[in-house]
Amino acid sequence: MAKHHGRGVATINYPIGMNLGGDPSQALVHSNPTGKFTVSLSSIDLGQGMKSVIRQICAETLGVPVADVYVDTADSDTGPHCTGSFASRGTHRVGNAVMVAAREARAVMMEAAAEELEVDPGDLETDGRGNIRVKGAPHRSITVREVAMAAQFKQGKTIAGRGIFLVPLSDVDPETGEMSPATCYAHACVIVDVEVDDETGDVSVLKMTSAYEIGRAINPKMVEQQLVGGAWMGMSHALYETVEPYYPDPREGPRDFNEYLMPGPGDICPHEIVVLERPAPDGPFGAKGIGEMCANPVLPAVANAIFNAVGVRINDLPITPEKVLRAIKARGGAVPQARMR
């Protein structure tokens, strides 16, 4: 009777946005008279960080500090249509929409600034700190606040923009399944180390090492949030969670968190994450969505690590101690596989 160490790997990709497209999102951006911007959306922040991601994308596009942008969501009277927060689509779809809107607003802002500075708008640039200046002659500059005041009270211009992003709906061929499922894909490789107790069938995840390619990290701290939380959920799906423990027999379903199992704070493990960025040609600043793909590779990597540890394959989720123990028994005992070189 012993504990066996095992290591497993999985590599995956993940399509961003609703499959086949056809899922538009809109955004509105406008400045108040003193040069502070509001983004109006109907998109939902359910914890993934929609408000903050959109805020950074908008600020970058406008060329103003992030503190000068506020994201207001979600009110159906003021926020334009968004298909919803799912399918890893928020950053990609809404991010693109807000870029379009912010570019339109920026163009008006630059025009208004040009009028004040009596130069061509094409000769102007933003410094990202709230100033607009003449390229090559930074002493000739004006603040965004002054521009907004002039636009509103002197020039009668609206510093505002509308944006929509739509990946047109793809067809699906009934015979071959030919289709355009997605325009951009995120990638991941996860290596999981586990320990399997051949006496109890218990599996502990010791360590996760992962590489995620996400196009562009809009905000590294929020990327970390998603990847850490998502990997936890992947581990939870692999080893713990089910609403029908005897599926397809529907009986004995859990009713509360005492009966529905998930790893607690004492069951987590160190997770080393490396992020790669290969910008998506159609992503906002190259960004891809990461909300869903982060959980997926962990499930098979855990299963493969268990095989590596004790030589049994569990093909049915979740991989409960009972299943592991039965499989070890059926195999006549644990059969550790070669260590991964």
Binding site: L46, G47, A231, W232, M233, F257, G266, I268
Partner: protein, 159 residues
Amino acid sequence: MKTPIQFRLNGEDVAAFVEGGANLLDTLREIVGDLSVKGGCWQGTCGTCTVLIDGVPRLSCITLAETCSGSSIETAAGLRRGSELHPLQIAFMERFAAQCGYCTPGMLMAAKALLDKNPNPTRQDVIEAISGNICRCTGYEPIINAVLDAAREHARSRA
């Protein structure tokens, strides 16, 4: 028949009339108006509704309001002093220890109970202190780190 109860909430005196079976969670939210306490299961299994009653973390959803008469209750609404955030709140921010934020009030209170009692907790102490609180978003790691940071900060500020 309603029963009058009185308790201290975040240092203020509060009085309310409650139904016989009323729980503390509903009393705080619906009668007293403290919306900082959240409910996630209303059956004592998620920790979201954690408050401190006389310094001890309790699940307000399964605590009869009547039994709280005369106690001192702390909720997340009472954590900051004016505009000054509690070290736990600062640490949660710096560690990005909230995503949807729904578990956060309960987590903060469970962590506060720990730090009030044990200002130098180990990682294991923190894990035990928050093990009754479910978080579906973060994977717990940032929360554990935030509580440890807050403890360190607390120790430093008193040194």
